[in-house]
């Protein structure tokens, strides 16, 4: 009888903990890792956002700074317009799902960014046009490889799910334990070579949300970086739909 009970217990344990393990865990990590990563991933995400930012591109022999205003709606639509310096004033970028257009004010032309140019730099920065377009959602396209819990932060490594349409072979994210704000993310190629590092800092409250207001992208092995500082961000504001059309781009 005792033995029977024991067996039942084991069976019970297996049914409760064994079978649904796939649903409970995310890859090789505990279930809550997924929420943690998703929260960090969506730290800036809102139904709509609008704001102003300053981008500084540092290269060995030159540093260029530009200010811009941006509007976005969901992950689908985004419009960025350069306000400074005067040489670039009015130059705008519109993204609607997979498409990117530039508006060139000098010649008053709209230029669609062709697929062959998607890998090219966006406005001389270390971001590419693809970075604007790709809608990788970490919790959908990636699986957790390992998780290390530190005192103040949690480090999670992510690997893409088989056949996921993603660029990176591995992402290592460091997330602040207290509020799930990302601290850094390291991006590795599919051969496991570190390609670039993104660091997030200067956490401030903007429009009621705590967000990292500075984002720095450094290219591995080069003394180059692109820094984006959010000067002002507003979340969930009414943005007219026409902003995300060619009319809005040309405005």
């Amino acid at each position: 009888m005792k033995k029977f009970l024991f067996v039942t217990l084991i069976l019970l344990l297996q049914t409760t903990f064994g079978r649904p393990a796939a649903a409970q865990n995310w890859g090789k990590c505990p279930k809550d890792t997924r929420d943690l990563v998703d929260k960090a991933d969506r730290i800036m995400f809102a139904k709509t956002t609008a704001g102003k930012m300053t981008m500084t591109v540092r290269k060995p022999d030159q540093t260029s700074t530009m200010s811009m205003t941006f509007w976005s709606s969901g992950r689908e639509n985004m419009l960025v317009r350069i306000t400074e310096p005067s040489r670039l004033k009015g130059m705008s970028t519109l993204k609607v799902s997979d498409n990117v257009w530039y508006y060139m004010p000098r010649t008053d032309r709209i230029v669609k960014v062709g697929s062959s140019m998607m890998g090219d730099s966006w406005m001389g920065s270390h971001f590419t046009n693809d970075d604007l377009v790709k809608e990788t959602q970490l919790y959908i396209h990636y699986e957790c490889l390992s998780r290390t819990d530190g005192k103040d932060s949690i480090t999670v490594s992510l690997a893409p799910k088989p056949n996921a349409p993603v660029v990176w072979g591995k992402i290592v994210m460091k997330i602040r334990r207290a509020d799930s704000i990302p601290e850094s993310a390291q991006y590795y190629s599919d051969k496991g070579v570190l390609k670039r590092t993104m660091t997030f800092d200067r956490i401030q409250k903007m429009d009621g949300r705590s967000i990292p207001t500075r984002m720095t992208l450094t290219v591995a092995g080069k003394n180059e970086s692109t820094e984006v500082v959010y000067d002002k961000v507003r979340f969930d504001v009414a943005i007219p739909d026409r902003m995300f059309t060619l009319r809005g781009l040309k405005m």
Binding site: K47, T48, A50, G51, K52, V57, K59, P60, D61, Q62, S64, T69, W71, S73, G74, R75, E76, R81, R87, L88, M91, Y102, M104, R106, T107, R109, I110, V111, K112, G114, S116, M117, D120, S121, M123, G124, S125, K232, R234, D236, V237, A238, I239, P240, D241, R242, M243, T245, L246, R247, K250
Partner: protein
């Protein structure tokens, strides 16, 4: 001394004794030489022509770069033009140095034309007249008639943009979903869904005063916190409904004058469902490589000017007349963009900092380099565009001194280029630049020339081998025929070495005669081929071209000291070598056995 003179006398007499055989040998050797000299000259001519084609098409004989430029091709790896040019042009071997700047960008052409926009049903046979594609089922898709599609190279998936952009919520752009048969009498037509057409025809609504300026981030109103949705898109639909100035309200007040903008032709009122004329823009664009050159210096180094098939090469002045810079494009690119010389293109050029700056440019001309990929994706502009602060701005960030990526150098003798490159390298040491011969810049081309030289060597070897075998044959024959004679010579006391020398000397005499005869004949053939050339165009009707290097189908010889010296030296060497064996045979003859034989 006595012996030596005797030897010469005997050799000379022996040759005349066997006049016919000697003549045959001399003839064989002369013929070999007469063939070898022009062959060598011809192959050297082709080789030089190849080098000329390679270096004069774009490379130049020597190139100067930043040490890392060729490997990384980054825009920042530039150097000051003035100092480098001065240092290079100071060398006496340099004819000219062409400065170049390489960047990338995009060229696009816009063609605006009128279309009669109608609903799907209004056109001819409707579904039956569909030639390809499918009916416009999605929003902002349209059918186009065959003639228009052909004229403007529209295909399934092509995009047409309305000009000017119609007011909301009408389509700004339509995607071509299918092609229909043309209406024989009708003009260009675009067939859209009734709903899309209604939007297009709606008069533009007046701007509501209440509308906030989206540029003013602070004044944007907060969304109602309701309707929480998980993600992405659902925002779109409710927002347009919620817009305070919804379309119907404006439609009710048609008094509002259409301000300047879209042009539903006044002849056709909006309620007429047949056709309305709209202007649409067809954009064709292509990503290109841009090379900024100094037109006058470039044309002294390379022959791109000769490859211009329509229009002209770039003007020497940067902004001529109306201030529109010129661009030279490949003929394939011109076909893609549907432009001809004199047309305007939009150019987005990558600046030193890496972002695009735009400028309208005028097509000066089109080139055909013979290399499709080049004709499709390469453009040339004036060097000053690269230094234009409004455009590429490739200047030293501190001093503002104009910079370049490359100096392509033409020197006096193309075969000297390795030496000249080394010399230039020394001159440029202080500027931290490298000067490479073209063989180092384009190793593939260099190995092509090497391959050509190797095949020349093999060809010459075969001709020499034939001539040499002939010589050896006649010499052996003459030894066998004269066994008795040698026997007598040896029995009267000639030493074997003397006999061997006799044979060698006979060969040498014949070789000398052949060299004179063959040399004269060779010179004659060479001169003929130098003047008239060897026309290979029947074998290579398309001309011979490799990697954009076009080689003239009429091959010409080069008459140089080398093209004579090498065949002549080789010929005499080979004849003497092959004479060794017969000479040894003759020396070894035993007098007793030889005398027993019944000679001729």
């Amino acid at each position: 001394m006595y012996n030596f003179l005797l030897l010469w006398k005997m050799a000379w007499r022996n040759l005349w004794r066997q006049r016919r055989r000697s003549l045959i040998t001399v003839f064989a050797m002369s013929a070999g030489l007469a063939l070898c000299i022009p062959t060598y000259g011809l192959m050297e001519g082709v080789s030089r022509e190849m080098i000329r084609g390679i270096t004069r098409s774009h490379l130049g004989h020597v190139q100067v770069h930043h040490p890392d430029y060729l490997e990384e091709r980054r825009l920042e790896l530039s150097f000051p033009e003035k100092e480098a040019s001065l240092a290079v042009l100071a060398d006496p071997a340099v004819i000219q140095a062409a400065p170049r700047v390489y960047t990338g960008g995009m060229v696009s052409s816009e063609h605006e034309f009128e279309v009669h926009v109608g609903t799907i049903g209004t056109h001819g046979g409707g579904l039956q007249s569909l030639v390809s594609g499918s009916l416009p089922l999605k929003k902002c898709t349209a059918l186009v008639d065959e003639r228009t599609a052909k004229r403007w190279r529209l295909d399934l998936g092509s995009i047409l943009r309305f000009s000017p952009l119609p007011a909301e919520p009408a389509c700004e752009r339509v995607e071509i979903s299918g092609v229909v048969r043309s209406d024989p009498a009708g003009a260009s037509s675009l067939l859209m869904r009734p709903a899309d057409i209604a939007d297009l025809n709606a008069p533009p609504k007046a701007k509501s005063a209440a509308q906030t300026d989206p540029d003013d981030i602070d004044s944007l109103e907060k969304l109602a916190p309701a309707a929480p949705s998980a993600d992405a898109t659902p925002m779109l639909a409710p927002a347009s409904d919620a817009a305070p100035d919804a379309a119907p309200a404006v439609d009710a007040a048609p008094a509002a004058p259409p301000p300047a903008a879209p042009s539903p032709s006044p002849a056709t009122p909006a309620d007429n469902p047949t056709t309305v004329v709209f202007r649409v823009v067809r954009t064709a664009s292509s990503q290109v490589g841009i090379i900024a050159v100094d037109p006058s210096r470039e044309s002294q180094v390379t022959t791109m000017v000769d490859k211009v098939v329509a229009g002209t090469y770039l003007n020497n002045t940067y902004r001529n007349g109306q201030g529109v810079p010129q661009i030279l494009i490949g003929d394939q690119l011109a076909r893609i963009l549907m432009v001809k010389p004199g047309d305007r293109l939009g150019l987005d050029i990558l600046t030193r900092e890496g972002f695009p700056m735009d400028e309208m440019v005028e097509v000066a001309g089109m080139f055909n380099s013979g290399l499709d990929s080049m004709d499709r994706s390469l453009t040339f502009v004036h060097l000053r565009m690269a230094w234009d602060p409004e455009l590429m701005n490739l200047v030293d960030p501190k001093t503002g001194a104009p910079q370049i990526h490359e100096l392509a150098i033409r020197i006096k003798d193309s075969l000297d280029n390795v030496v000249v490159a080394e010399r230039l390298q020394k001159r440029l040491k202080g500027l931290h630049l490298v000067a490479w011969p073209w063989q180092k810049v384009e190793p593939a081309m260099a190995s092509m020339v090497k391959l050509q030289d190797a095949s020349t060597a093999i060809l010459l070897l075969i001709i020499f081998a034939i001539a040499a075998l002939g010589t050896m044959n006649t010499m052996l024959m003459s030894v066998f025929e004269r066994i008795r004679e040698f026997g007598v010579l040896k029995s009267v006391g000639m030493r074997p070495f003397f006999v061997a020398r006799l044979i060698m000397l006979e060969t040498l005499l014949m070789t000398l005669v052949s060299m004179v005869v063959g040399g004269v004949l060779g010179l004659g053939i060479s001169s003929y081929l130098y003047v008239y050339g060897l026309d290979m165009s029947s074998l290579l009707p398309e001309g011979f071209s490799y990697q954009g290097v076009v080689i003239d189908p009429v091959w010409r010889t080069v008459i140089s000291v080398r093209s004579f010296a090498i065949p002549l030296a080789l010929m005499s060497l080979v004849s003497l070598i092959v004479a060794v064996w017969p000479a040894v045979r003759a020396a070894r003859i035993k007098p007793v056995e030889a005398l027993r034989q019944t000679g001729v």
